[in-house]
């Protein structure tokens, strides 16, 4: 056989390349500079018929093959890596799970408009604590009658918030790891489904990436994709295919950089000769071409295998890891060939250099690709146990987590103020609002939830009455520029170790929370009740900052000018009594041994996290050999309930 694409494939490539050169190339720099999503380009891609390349015609697709899809992503990425990933995320992540695991009804309702390109798709798996390890998924879906109630959030979601249809992964059976995850089709616009951060990325800036927030989102039962508990399987199958898309994106970016460098090197003359013919550059081009060809062969092999429905998981992982690794090398060499000119904004090779980096990270880091490849070669690694890894607790340490939810906004604010005064905070004293964060005893910080710039007034006024300095989250200082850069609080910014921190409209990204670990008392005001900040706060009010901040300001205003604050004395952190473990333990009636799922039973081959119910019937007490039936549940007693 001849290892080559068909004429039809090359014709298709020419068609997409023409489109990319004519429709994308002229605006690519602007999209990159302005972090702008190319709505028109996506519409035109639909017209061109490339939004559902591998899907059946009866569902609105082109019924073409996986290889054509790979070529399309490659060609778009050759001109703009961002546009390439729009197609990749839409086709292999947002659409594929519905095509492969959807019911007939789901396909009619969702697959058809996606494959036609009338709607855009996205895929939501990643969470702050579930990156490479989906077992850390914290978004939950609870079945209530004819619908599931979805709560939680997703981060780094490609195509959000533009996309219309989202495949979302959530825990339906807690504490059993990845087997408890299910997949759902969720539509934009449903009540409680909102978008948080739109990220300010290093590269692929024409693609949109945002955070998803779910607050009691009602998902109809019929939108469960596959069966309950199949979510992880669906996610893994989807990512196997998605890797072909990302590999193609990496290849396209590298190919674009290569083509540009070649053109430049043949024109640029130094030492009376086009620099392309300097031996050191000849060798560069040769090496780049070897890498590109290898990558292309790996990708096309994986695509053809997928098309032929033979196992391709290892091939797509190899293609993704290799293509993205060499994309960085090729872009680096290409930029080097450009010399100082390549280092300037507006140069395509500069953009390619930045765009390429993401491809070694997303849709499974290259480290994880190697885990996948190794597992195909060597089989599953023997189980290792990492004790207690899942029970880390909140980033800011153990906090009181008292959330005022009852009563009017004013009543909730009053309860908060009373609690703070009870803790010993004196609100008759004040400090300069521009006191450096590290020196301030109290800080009122604004997050993106603050909205328009004029709302910063609310924060400033609250800071004045609370006797606090003004701070912010990173985006508010860095992207929105509401406050100077030295006023943002976080691991990478200023660290706050004073007594009172009031977070207004801050959702609580890990890096921010790490900056307030030492705070004595943390107060959160946020309209999203699932925002991580509430798990990291002593007190919280769920509500709109526009409503709560003025009330809080008023409640703290004693009608007098603030007296100068005395020297800062670190207050005591609240004592939070330890909560019982969420695991249910069982004791043996034969000896008193206690089975704790948090510990498992290593010698008995029972891994950590196995509930007592899930223990095999033949399991026996590791200490005295009694049967499973001789165990009794350890009930949890609390004297709180009696009162």
């Amino acid at each position: 056989m001849l290892f080559s694409t068909t004429e039809a494939h090359e014709e298709f490539r020419a068609k997409v390349r023409k489109f990319a050169e004519e429709e994308v190339k002229p605006i690519a720099f602007k999209l990159d500079q302005e972090n702008e999503f190319p709505y028109d380009v996506v519409k035109k891609m639909a017209k061109l018929g490339i939004m559902g390349i591998p899907y059946e015609k009866k569902y609105g697709g082109a019924e073409s093959d996986v290889l054509s899809y790979a070529i399309a992503v490659e060609e778009l990425s050759r001109v703009d890596g961002g546009v390439g990933v729009i197609l990749s995320a839409h086709t292999s992540l947002g659409t594929y799970p519905i095509a492969a695991f959807g019911t007939e009804e789901q396909k009619k309702k969702y697959l058809v408009p996606l494959a036609k390109g009338e709607k855009l798709g996205a895929f939501g798996l990643t969470e702050p604590n579930a990156g490479s390890d989906a077992g850390g998924t914290e978004t939950v879906a609870v079945l209530e009658g004819d619908h599931y109630v979805l709560n939680g959030g997703k981060i780094f979601i490609t195509n959000a918030p533009v996309a219309d249809t989202y495949v979302i992964f959530a825990v339906t059976t807690p504490n059993i790891g990845t087997h408890g995850i299910s997949a759902f089709i969720v539509e934009k616009g449903w009540e409680g489904f909102e978008f948080g951060d739109h990220y300010d990325k290093m590269g692929i800036r024409s693609s949109s990436t945002a955070e998803l927030i779910f607050n009691d989102v009602k998902v109809p039962k019929e939108n469960l994709l596959g069966k309950e508990g199949q979510g992880f399987k669906i996610a893994m199958a989807t990512l196997d295919g998605g890797r072909i898309g990302i590999a193609s994106q990496a290849l396209g970016i590298a190919q674009g950089a290569f083509d540009n460098a070649k053109e430049y090197a043949l024109e640029r003359v130094q030492f009376d000769m086009p620099i392309a013919f300097q031996q050191i550059n000849q060798f560069k081009f040769a090496d780049m071409a070897i890498k590109l060809t290898n990558a292309r062969n790996l990708i096309y092999t994986a695509a053809e295998k997928k098309q032929a429905h033979v196992p391709y998981g290892m091939d797509s992982a190899m293609a993704k890891a290799y293509a993205s690794d060499i994309a960085l090398e090729v872009c680096n060499d290409a930029l080097q060939i450009y010399g100082g000119n390549g280092y300037l904004k507006g140069m395509e090779v500069e953009r390619a250099y930045r765009d390429a980096k993401i491809t070694t990270i997303y849709e499974g880091t290259n480290e994880i690709q190697r885990v996948v490849i190794a597992s195909h070669i060597l089989g599953k690694a023997p189980k290792t146990t990492v004790a207690g890894a899942k029970d880390k607790g909140p980033i800011t340490g153990v906090r009181k987590k008292i959330i005022y939810a009852k009563g009017t906004a004013k009543e909730r604010v009053d309860q908060l103020v009373e609690a703070l005064k009870g803790d010993g905070f004196d609100f008759t004293v004040g400090i300069d609002p521009m006191t450096p964060i590290v020196d301030a005893d109290r800080v009122v910080s604004a997050g993106k939830g603050i909205g328009a710039k004029e709302n910063m007034k609310l924060v400033e006024e609250l800071a004045k009455q609370a006797g606090a300095a003004v701070g912010s989250s990173r985006p508010v200082a860095e992207t929105m520029k509401y406050v100077p850069l030295d006023r943002y609080v976080g691991m990478s910014g200023q660290k706050f170790s004073g007594n009172l921190y009031i977070a207004c409209g801050i959702s609580g990204a890990g890096q921010h929370l790490k900056g307030i670990r030492e705070a004595t008392t943390i107060v959160a005001v946020n309209k999203n009740k699932n925002a991580p900040i509430f798990k990291n706060a002593d007190y919280g009010i769920v509500g709109d900052v526009m409503e709560i901040l003025p009330l809080l300001t008023k409640a703290l205003d004693n009608g007098q000018p603030k007296k100068p604050a005395p020297e800062r004395v670190k207050m005591r952190k609240a004592t939070v009594l330890k909560e019982p473990s969420h695991w249910t333990t069982y004791v043996c009636d034969g000896c008193g041994y206690e089975y704790d799922p948090a510990a498992g039973d290593e010698e008995g081959g029972i891994s950590i996290g196995t509930t007592f119910e899930a223990l095999p019937e033949e399991w026996i007490c590791p200490v005295c050999g009694e049967e499973k039936t001789a165990f009794v549940e350890v009930e949890k007693y609390s004297s709180k309930e009696e009162k």
Partner: protein, 403 residues
């Protein structure tokens, strides 16, 4: 010469007291002695409930012989096979060869292991839900596994409402002629020893004790006959309430047990400073112990009683002082939970005790170590004095909360 007492019309206490034993189980000091209770029922058939330790065998055998008054012994019901109650089984079987021994399957295995040599045809195996009639009296058997040992059962006389409760509801201290709890100052003189007995002997098995109490709550109990200490016929809900506290690891009182390990008095001084501050601030329910001078069984008993602990330890060979470590380990072994703990370390060149103590408590259930941890360098300074003040505030403040 016999020394017996009548429990009811046809039930007799035939046990005996030991005031010479220093260490119960060779572990726990018992200055007040201990009683080994055995009960003899005279019905159409005669039935002996458990025996006594061999150390008091002579008295026990005389008592049985006297109460039987020439009748033969038909049954020996063994609720608990631990040798402080079962050691005289062999002698009973020798003296009354026709006696049938009634107990659980596991007790049978243990009897053989201890080589009490019972003929298999003389053994009657019973299990949960079985009952036997001795004439007027009907005895129901209730499994009570791990209410100290796995073979344990309790026997309930449905006719008179008498519960033969094995080790449950037992106590240290010899009876000295008394039989009923209402004949002694139980709430004053006895309760501490009852608690020390329960927490050190059965403390670990709270879940199983709760399971037994749940079963018992369905019975109309008029009298509890334990294997140690006095018989309960009045105020039964009071002692059951104590058991619920102990078995669920719920403190009886809001109070602070200060325990310190001090080599040259500096750590002791820190402990006294804290205690003074507590009183100064108006909190008076404070107990103080030197762990080197106090047997750990007393410390355990206090830890079960009170809601808070303040532990002071020197660093010793880069570890917690052995006596203190033993106290902490014993708490862990006995499954103590739900306590709030203040910790203070002392060290002169490399203090280690704080982190090690905190780590130990982290491995236990719901043990909250206060944030205000104090590290003393050799002796208390102005600075550490202020920290002790913070610890005192934190201890008092945290009293407001319940688990």
């Amino acid at each position: 010469m016999q020394c017996t007492r009548k429990v009811t019309e046809d039930l007799y206490w035939v046990g005996a007291n030991d005031k010479r034993l220093h260490l119960f189980e060779s572990a726990h000091p018992i200055e007040g002695g201990v009683s080994y209770n055995s009960y003899l029922l005279l019905d159409e058939k005669t039935a002996l409930f458990d025996t006594a330790d061999w150390s008091v065998g002579k008295q026990f055998l005389e008592n049985v012989e006297y109460v039987l008054d020439g009748r033969k012994l038909d049954y020996l019901v063994i609720n608990h096979l631990e040798p402080d109650h079962a050691a005289s089984i062999g002698e009973i079987v020798l003296r009354y060869p026709e006696v049938k021994v009634v107990s659980t399957e596991k007790a049978w295995l243990l009897m053989n292991q201890f080589q009490f040599r019972i003929d298999e045809e003389k053994f009657v195996e019973v299990k949960e839900g079985d009952s036997m009639s001795f004439g007027k009296h009907n005895i129901a058997f209730v499994a009570a596994p791990m209410v100290h040992w796995p073979e344990v059962m309790v026997s309930f006389d449905t006719t008179d409402g008498i519960l033969f409760s094995a080790d449950a509801f037992g106590s240290f201290k010899s009876l000295d002629g008394a039989l009923f709890a209402d004949e002694v100052d139980f709430k004053g003189e006895w309760i501490d020893e009852a608690r020390r007995y329960y927490t050190n002997i059965v403390g670990k098995y709270g879940p199983q004790v709760m399971a037994l109490l749940k079963k018992a709550s369905t019975l109309d109990i008029k009298c509890i006959c334990p294997l140690h200490g006095p018989v309960w016929r009045k105020d039964i809900p009071w002692i059951i309430d104590k058991y619920v506290h102990w078995a669920t690891y719920t403190p009886e009182e809001k109070g602070i047990v200060i325990a310190y390990a001090s080599m040259y008095g500096n750590t002791m001084s820190a402990a006294h400073i804290l205690a003074s501050k507590l009183h100064e601030k108006g909190f008076h329910n404070v107990k103080m112990y030197d762990v080197s001078e106090t047997h750990v069984s007393f410390l355990i008993s206090e830890a079960f009683k009170y809601s808070h602990l303040a532990l002071f330890s020197v660093t010793y060979n880069l570890n917690v002082f052995p006596a203190m470590q033993n106290f902490i380990d014993d708490m862990k072994r006995l499954n103590l939970q739900k306590r709030v703990i203040g910790i203070v370390e002392n060290g002169s060149w490399a203090p280690q005790a704080l982190d090690l103590m905190a780590k130990s408590f982290d491995e236990m259930k719901q043990m909250t170590v206060l944030n205000e941890q104090v590290s003393v360098l050799s002796s208390v300074t102005k600075m550490t004095d202020r920290e002790l003040d913070g610890l005192a505030d934190s201890l008092i403040e945290s009293m407001k909360q319940d688990y």
